[in-house]
Symmetry: C2
Subunit: 326 residues, 2 copies
């Protein structure tokens, strides 16, 4: 039914076009379309006024690939290498020393603390404008080690279609990520169509300063907010001030965001992306006989909760006919 | 030139209508219209793409009356009275004891610290949804002591016209206030046409909890962020992620926001509201021979800076032909 060329088509013909061509005609696609239909049709018992149509998306593993490690960690590792000449002490200080030796396992053995230290020392000290430019330069050239694609090319095509479909139905789409807010903003608009003011993530503190007489915001090596788990509803309220109607995630870090969305009155839609496609992407979801230890993993517990609560679970393998655009 | 009834007017006639009828045809109105014209006209050397059309507004004293004390302080005082039966210790504890005796001078002698204590104990403990309802109930009935109007009726008509004019020209309007973010959101959309996600203010911390099995955000008696002075550029960056093109304020608390706006490249517009109309509102601005001591006052120093930097200063007395809607 999909048209290859929509130019010159009548409105009716366009209305018949498949809004989610990369989704198979299985349960999740049907559930999404049924939800959009009932919440946007005037006179429907579950109609949601346009102003309240808020849809929130996790980023890593929900909108783009987060394996073998989250993209921002690749960025931080590259920053360590680039900045090493200015930091001779890193040669003997963890986690920097192991990063410089190429021993990622040891570098990350320190867990969240090691990650925060990497972020603080490589993401701070410059102005917000300078940092955005560093991110832009990096993301324009850095490549995924397995596919050789640019990271932005590893956004999930079905999710890009979904974002466009929601916006065409007057839903406002937001990112609610554990990743850095200022790491995502420089490219989120181009890749996802989500403007900076709708991108929310973890943040470090910034400080207003006059540098050479010009007002700038300087990034400080100090965590402001870690936007994961029960932090996600907090920033949703802080930044949006409305309870979302739809929420999309892929891991235990999204559990509270989905619960908070579900807890509102009226129609609600919650969805988890299950990574079970080792050929086209990575298989690391639950029910695959894998240990729950992976960072930010979609755990068995949150999978069980989804089943119990009626959240939609999308199998990459079965429900998507294409994963990436190219 | 203003039409009393726009129905049936041709597009040309509407185009000629005065977008700012409560503004006299003096410098500030001319400056605003000239700025909007040059930044929105395709092909203009100073054209600003729609996505970058961000305009930020202080609230107290810029969009609505802040005298004799800020509206939120009236709210806090009423909350102290309403909650006093549950807090017997307040009878002997400052600043509550003085509030309950009606001695505002002594209550506020503790300055910012006293204000924060009042806010923390009267604005916390409940869920975000419950707090919004408390605000809604209060603002629907509370009256200004001098005019007898509801506080929302004391929004400045010229500024309401300005907000509508900017939005008609694809500017996105934001509030950047020292006032409480969750105090403003319940009524800002109705009064100013500014949705919750574009209202930014001071905040206390909230915590995600399950209460009787339902997920809620509970307000904690702990300051999260005080959104004044050099805090304003910080939250502008945090929430919007773009440098504003236009900024509107009325006091020393807005100085850094105006500097930050001015510091961007391309066309910029900065404006300060000068309160010099004792008959229609209050006269407490600079150059009036008044002391600089008033809370949040538009000081002589920021007035001098406006003159020097070419920021537009609006005299309520000379530049507005009407202050309030009724």
């Amino acid at each position: 039914m999909a048209q290859t060329n929509i130019r010159g088509q009548s409105r009716e013909a366009l209305g018949d076009m498949d809004p989610l061509p990369s989704w198979n005609d299985t349960g999740p696609k049907k559930a999404i379309i049924a939800f959009i239909t009932k919440t946007t049709k005037d006179g429907s018992a579950e109609f949601v006024p346009p102003a309240e149509r808020v849809a929130v998306f996790d980023n890593d593993g929900t909108l783009w690939c987060e394996q073998p490690i989250p993209v921002q960690l690749f960025f931080a590792l590259d920053r360590v290498k680039a900045l090493a000449p200015q930091h001779p002490d890193w040669k003997t200080r963890e986690p920097f020393a192991s990063v410089l030796k190429g021993d990622l396992g040891t570098a990350l053995a320190g867990g969240e603390r090691a990650l925060l230290e990497l972020a603080a020392e490589t993401h701070a000290g410059m102005s917000a404008v300078e940092f955005a430019q560093i991110v832009r330069d990096w993301i324009a050239t850095a490549k995924h080690p397995k596919t050789g694609k640019r990271f932005t090319e590893m956004a999930y095509l079905p999710m890009l279609e979904l974002l466009a479909y929601l916006r065409a139905n007057a839903f406002k789409t937001f990112i609610i990520s554990g990743g850095g807010i200022e790491f995502m903003r420089p490219w989120a608009e181009q890749v996802y169509g989500i403007p900076p003011e709708q991108v929310i993530g973890s943040s470090i503190k910034t400080q207003f300063e006059l540098r050479e007489g010009r007002p700038v915001l300087v990034r400080l090596p100090e965590l402001n907010f870690y936007n994961d788990k029960d932090g996600k509803p907090v920033t949703i309220n802080q930044h949006i001030g409305r309870r979302p109607v739809m929420a999309f995630g892929n891991s235990a870090g999204d559990k509270e965001m989905l619960e908070y969305t579900q807890g509102g009155t009226g129609a609600r839609f919650m969805l988890l992306v299950l990574h079970d496609d080792a050929i086209r992407e990575y298989a690391y979801g639950p029910a695959l006989g894998l240990p729950d230890a992976k960072l930010g993993a979609f755990t068995q517990a949150v999978y069980d909760q989804a089943q119990k609560e009626g959240w939609t679970v999308v199998s990459q393998k079965n429900d998507w006919n294409q994963v990436f655009a190219s």
